[in-house]
Amino acid sequence: MQRRNLSRYMPVSRRDFVHALAIGGTMAAVAALRGWSAFAASTPRTPAILTGTDFDLKIDSWPVDFTGRRSFATAVNGSVPGPTLRWREGDTVTLAVTNRMKKSASIHWHGVRVPADMDGVPGLSYPGIDSGETFVYRFPVKQSGTYWYHSHTRFQEQTGLLGALIIEPQYGDPIEFDREYVVMLTDWTDTDPETVFGNLKEESEYYNFHQRTVGTFFSDVRRHGLRSTISDRLLWARMNMTPTDFADVTGATYAYLVNGNPPRANWTALFRPGEKVRLRFINGSSMTFFDVRIPGLLMTVVQADGNDVEPVVVDEFRIGVAETYDVIVEPKADAAYTIFAQSMDRSGYARGTLAPREGMTADVPPMDPRPLRTMVDMGMGNMGGMNMAGMDGMTEEDMKDIRGMNMGGDQKTAAGAEAGGMDMQNMPDVKMDGAGERSAPGATQVFRSETENDAPMRMGNDQGTIPFPQPGPGVMAVVVEPMAGYRETKLELSNPVHMHLGPEVDMVPAHVTKRLNDAGDGLNGNGRRVLTYADLRARYKGADGRPPTHEIELHLSGNMQRYIWGFNGKTFAQSEPIDLKLGERVRIVLVNDTMMEHPIHLHGLWSELENGHGPFNPYKHTVIVKPSERVSYLVSADTPGQWAYHCHLLYHMQAGMFRAVVVS
């Protein structure tokens, strides 16, 4: 970054800039100007901010230097990450996106509810934007919050085609703050992502340089004794799995960036002591989960995935790929604070600074010890002394479909007896709210309506065919069940899960647990208050109060060694779309049959996470499913069209963890 020579590219960029100026209005001009000067300088830079209703975005290949080595990224308007777009709820925005590269490109508005043909997924929404072409997106903005945009074409997201997207609320922001910053976290590699993908296919541990070795064996023997070390090693070896699997692509090749700045560049956000600073964290990385904290400051989480939540004060939070969290910090002292985002596998970190003046730094904390996967992650029960849930009421017949730990054709059914003595008391998130306690296909579910206190109102058959508004201060629950008190509805599973147990699947956990109260592997017991999904309570009541009419259960499956990923044991290439009827409300149950976290993103429709807050369940666009976890959320199929549904780990998606959802 220091000695980059951009002169060759300047004429083009200047023209772009002038164009953007003319279109975007004065505010954009000022912001863009500041952005540009910062970009060309050697000090930390922040992507430009473009405001208004009309935007001209140019996608181009662009020289960058994040690691000390010059390579090429995919830029928007000459910026990596691309400019921050600021829209206003209630406006209709027009975005002319021109592709100046030789290959096809696309832009998807992540988390934004748009008509299906504006969603920007090649093959589903449109054919993509060919070389030299301009595609004009135009749609009304009916929501507010922090979002982002990125390419949906091959690995362009990895090479930098992404940016922040801020939508201001139409009638003033209920969140109070004095200033705000976007903190875009990304992972960058100088290696061609296609090569990275090929490397993973040949050797899935290619980027893992923290595997167990002879050395760790002896240190474990010293710590735990010879016997337990050997039995532990044998247990993992029998499964051909390694407890060090936390990230497929690691700091061995990645540089972790804050707004496009590597740690040494130290991106800095300024504040005046006593101010309320809103930090809009966006995980725009391709493969990296970050654990974020600001030593010395408490963070108040006020928004998740663009939707306001009841404030939660935490020391730290884990942000999955594609998630966003808005936090408020109030630094009182005239001192610098480090924004520290370590990757989940502790192979590197992104770092920035909150400071009263430019050039200040605070200590960068050491990374936490590297975590190890446990038998809970493997779905092998309470070997670690943990309480198991989700096994209640399971019948012998149900167990047949769970199949035990299915390893190499050796069909061992887990002992149903183990399920009996589980301790449910210590799992506060396990409430009988109908959130998929049923653990196997074929069974029926008693549903308890959460809307008993609302005024009874029967809606017509066309309910839900007009997109529901985003929950907000003025939004009423549109549809309500016509019952006072609890109503029991039998929920049939619409798709008895046919797990395809081919070579695409290397494990099926015997014990699937609810882990909403679990901060995640590597965060439990670290002495800090860490955000969990159970903490997320929507600030406003959900817009659709209807109970779901059926359930769709999907298993997240994969074969780590072969590097094949999919749903229900099938890759996208092998699968059929998931059909939803326009207007219906469904429960999607996700069961993670792998030992990795998967951030699952449903395009076009909200995912209302069932975390026990009933009508105040949080609206999300991306939901992390932990290893051997069962998670459910409700979806109102209120916007017709073909929607992408996929794991947001980019290489998992490209390896097949992708489905089309068709609402019609």
């Binding site: 090649p122 093959g123 054919p127 167990r212 050395g215 074969n559 060694q561 059929e576 068709v662």
Partner: protein, 271 residues
């Protein structure tokens, strides 16, 4: 150990290359096309016409190719030296692959104990990490050069053991078997010891090729490599080759030794 020495017959090489080419063209792409045609988006009620025009994303059906030389080494016992190669490569999707293998020795301008194999490769249902392979093996050495029908599996056995048993059949009722196994022991993240073993069996004595019935020979060793990168790892090690039974008798009659311990140094490379 050496079952005959000669310069590689040109004809044999040509034949082998032809065999490889035919496997590639016939099997792998054909199977691919079959999968592509079953487009997952066939019934798309809302925008059916648009969907058919659009190029579906490729996710989950991509063609990859890799080539690995696990052994590319010199072997010496102080008196004589020889060159050894053992490599494999594949091209294809997750489900259908063309797979090639080759191994052999070269020394003093002659090539011995070499073969080249071409397979159609496919994952075995129920065996999570194993591929089934069917194809041809062409021996590159003297005497009547042989073409074998080859049938095997290759993959990761529980405990992270690479395991690769192959059965060979050829005309005249000849049956042979080869089992290869190896294990990667991580001393550090980049310093890796790899014990390896290869044994051969023959069902029928084959005097022109100096092969006896039964367990004929073994090639074992341990190599300690340093992965400068995953794809480039120089190594040092020790290899021990030995003949048994009738095969050993043939060698003794020819005045050759039946046990051959050597130091090895080489490169493990892949792309």
């Amino acid at each position: 150990m050496r079952r005959g020495r000669s310069v590689i017959p040109r004809q044999t090489v040509r034949l082998a290359v032809l065999a490889l080419a035919s496997v590639v063209t016939c099997i792998a792409p054909g199977a691919d096309r079959a999968q592509v045609s079953t487009s997952p988006m066939s019934p798309a009620p809302t925008t059916a016409s648009a969907a058919t025009e659009m190029q579906m994303p490729e996710m989950g059906n991509q063609i990859f190719e890799h080539m690995l030389f696990n052994q590319l080494e010199g072997r010496t016992d102080g008196l004589s030296s020889e060159f050894r190669w053992d490599g494999e490569g594949w091209i294809g999707t997750d489900m259908n692959r063309a797979w090639f293998k080759s191994e052999g020795f070269a020394g003093n301008g002659i090539v011995s104990d070499g073969d080249i194999e071409a397979f159609y490769d496919r994952p075995v249902p129920r065996l999570r990490y194993f591929d089934g392979q069917v194809g041809l093996r062409e021996d590159i050495d003297s005497g009547p050069h042989c073409t074998w029908l080859a049938l095997g599996i290759e993959g990761l056995a529980p405990g992270f053991f690479e395991f690769e048993p192959t059965l060979y059949i050829r005309d005249g009722g000849h049956v042979a078997g080869r089992i290869t196994g190896s294990y990667d022991l991580l001393i550090t993240q980049r310093l890796i010891a790899q014990p390896e073993l290869e044994v051969d069996f023959y069902g029928k004595s084959d005097p022109p090729r100096r092969l006896g019935t039964g367990f004929s020979d073994l090639d074992t060793g341990i190599r300690v490599r340093y992965e400068i990168s995953r794809k480039f790892a120089p190594y040092l090690g020790f290899a021990y080759a030995r003949e048994f039974g009738g095969t050993a008798t043939f060698s003794r009659q020819a005045g050759e030794s039946t046990a051959d311990p050597r130091f090895v140094f080489g490169l493990r490379v892949w792309y």
